[in-house]
Symmetry: C2
Subunit: 443 residues, 2 copies
């Protein structure tokens, strides 16, 4: 019988602990993966990859009690040696290796040049060897930034008194969005994977006023583009007692402001690795859909056919317009046409061909869809009838409205798309640990 | 064109803002849902439900500019009136209503007595009317506590330099755990829903050393018990460079210690509502599987048939034993038999019929399974061969080991089970917003 009393202290040191210490000239222990070995003859540099970054060890013949050939790239080792200042090494220090313990060895040499600063490997190859490709320092930094985004989303919303919820991803067949749903059998009953937590988060507004969820969503869309995934993570919130859909956009602006500060503070190392300049989010312009269309057509002398939607090229130009006119990487496009929005979107009382809804474009790419929802049961039923829809499978959702719901609205942010735009990549798969698309179900 | 500059200030006040203010005798505005109306004749108490709790308003004939009959339970309203001290009201204040604006009205009266302190409604009825049942103050408090647990998990692990990951829930068919997997068609290919992020989090240990994920998992088990769900949320972590599986248990103990403090600090209101006394987690005993079996058999004079596993009744008694002998609600049971653990579990070098693994029992219920994993490619392949398993579908997982993996281990915690035990319920559905079980796919 033992007693566990909390986190166990370690004899090995992390990079930040070494930097905060004053142990120069003394013997310390570290562990890590052999990232690269540069043999210079009498000495060799053995660079370890640790969770905080790279750490340089110096191998000296006669001093280090192991043969250099035994140190394979990919091995996990523990080193003890003397800590020395060394300006040319990462962090300004290095460790002169004395003892080396091999914790684990690879059986094959690495299939990708992960020790290079930029791998210059095709996306396809990186995705095929995902668990190895991400060992590259730049590749993995993307996902630290992604952590910061999600963390910022949650922490900001906690501060705004939102409650975090966990809604089911398995559901009964519903009338909404039939074609884009993955279908499966659930104990001899037809079931689907949720394409959005929409109905659940709305129902929970009646309980907690303000709710959010960060979870996967599933879309069986046959898109094969750089912007689409068949499984992605959606950062969703929904809030009650709003005065208008501007409250939603204002809350999202607040989230972005909070998150950029968090990244600056806690993810500076990764921002530096990826050479990211954070966008200015002190103010974000909001332009009406019809006005944006018109301004872009005029300024760039382009005509787009579809009056009810924005083509990718058009979104791109709206982004360019916002940058040129307002110096903003972000722009809200508001009042989307009713016929392009789902039944629960609230129509603009001033003109019911438009809705009180919006998209947020970031560098010309849609990263958010949101808006005010219909909160009155009668109006919801009216809209459903008007569209010739069935209520089958929506009974529980609709019944929540019978018992009273406050005016409310919300949004969903594509986590991978936001990450992709922030790091300046052009394929959403670069910002997805293990992407799922038309052809990819592994790794 | 408008500019969004961040969260918009509100004229209506929240409970905490009122309590922090000194506006007694002045007119303020609040909004909320009409939770209950108690008509006393000349006055009536109109209790509003807000996200922070209940707020008492006083309706006075001739003073309040609306007919009391117009205030239906379930309506969302905005009230302005004079703030008064009132010791008998929640929070020690009430608002004498002057103006009332009805924001939204219900169309039907409530199907459950949600305004009662304890509803005394069957679980079945509560689940059938989930969106309404949760409007009860006690019912919803459970999910605030749940938020605290998940928040504690993440915040503690951030502080321990874990990286948050998001792994796919859709995957290719794999040799592991076939029968318990939900199957679906993914663009004309067979696919499954992941029953655990196990393989992915292990692969990511090679990248970030320490990773965690909080996400849904899916199990097609035909269990119909108070402890099983077919979809639940798993709090998973995996850490590299461990000295032994005790590091994992120590980390979990640290998480529990951190989380109990967080609950005490930020969720005191909900702990009070549910009358929860937080468990002492300053130390948690760890007993070997075989020893626990023996001690329980002796102390309680019970014999259990299965020498390789613990029956629910046996787990219950081990929990009782830990409480009686060590005063602990929690107990780690270590060294589970190898034949009951998955192939990737590391066998105890001292006796390979046992593994370096553990379960954590909380009040006699398993809430965590964890342990050290095999980190060497050759040993992993040996174990697979030994079990007569196929490697089909595990190629990517296995290849990560070819390129070197540190010694590592981790665990998965059932979010709903941990919540259920903390709040003292006996059915896991009480701690699940929208449970999925053999018979329930809605709401």
């Amino acid at each position: 019988m033992k007693m566990m009393t909390g986190v166990m202290p370690k004899e090995t040191m992390e990079i930040s602990e070494i930097l905060a210490s004053d142990l120069y000239g003394q013997t310390i222990s570290v562990n890590g993966a052999v990232h690269t070995v540069r043999d210079m003859g009498e000495v060799a540099f053995v660079v370890l990859r640790k969770r905080e970054g790279l750490l340089q060890c110096v191998y000296e013949e006669g001093v280090t009690a192991i043969d250099l050939k035994e140190l394979k790239e990919g091995a996990a080792i523990e080193v003890s040696g003397v800590l020395n200042k060394e300006d040319r090494a990462p962090g300004g220090f290095e460790i002169r290796m004395k003892e080396v313990k091999i914790l684990s060895e690879p059986t094959e040499s690495l299939p990708l040049p992960i020790a290079k600063w930029k791998m210059n490997t095709s996306l396809e190859a990186k995705l095929n060897h995902r668990a190895v490709a991400l060992r590259n320092i730049r590749e993995r930094a993307t996902f630290r930034i992604q952590e910061g985004i999600v963390r910022g989303f949650r922490d900001f919303l906690y501060s705004q008194e939102f409650t975090e919820i966990h809604t089911p991803k398995l559901g009964a067949k519903s009338a909404e969005g039939g074609a884009n749903l993955f279908k499966l059998e659930y104990f001899h009953r037809p079931a689907i994977l949720q394409q959005s937590p929409q109905f659940y988060k709305q129902m929970m507004v009646g309980v907690f006023d303000r709710v959010f969820e960060t979870a996967p969503v599933f879309r069986a869309e046959k898109h094969n583009t750089k912007r689409h995934l068949n499984e992605y993570n959606s950062l969703d919130f929904e809030m009650g007692y709003i005065d208008g859909f501007e409250d939603i956009m204002a809350m999202e602006t607040g989230f972005l402001q909070y998150t950029m500060e968090l990244l600056k503070k806690d993810y500076a190392k990764e921002l530096d690795i990826l050479q990211i300049e954070l966008p200015d989010v002190s103010q974000i312009p909001a332009i009406r859909f019809d006005e944006a269309k018109q301004r872009v057509a005029e300024k760039y002398d382009r005509q787009f056919r579809n009056p009810y939607d924005l083509e990718p090229e058009e979104e791109h130009l709206i982004g360019q317009y916002a940058k040129e006119e307002f110096g903003s990487d972000f722009v809200f496009v508001t009042h989307y046409p009713s016929k392009k929005r789902p039944f629960y979107a609230m129509d603009d009382p001033a003109d019911s061909t438009y809705t009180l809804s919006f998209d947020l474009l970031y560098k010309g790419l849609e990263i958010t869809t949101g808006g005010q929802r219909i909160h009155q049961y009668d109006k919801l039923m009216e809209k459903i009838a008007q569209r010739g829809m069935e209520t089958e499978g929506m009974e529980h959702y609709l019944s929540a409205f019978k018992y009273g719901m406050p005016p409310h609205g919300g949004l969903g942010i594509g986590m991978e798309r936001l990450t992709m735009q922030l790091i300046g990549e052009d394929n959403v798969r670069e910002a997805t640990l293990f992407p799922r698309d038309l052809s990819r179900l592994e790794p």
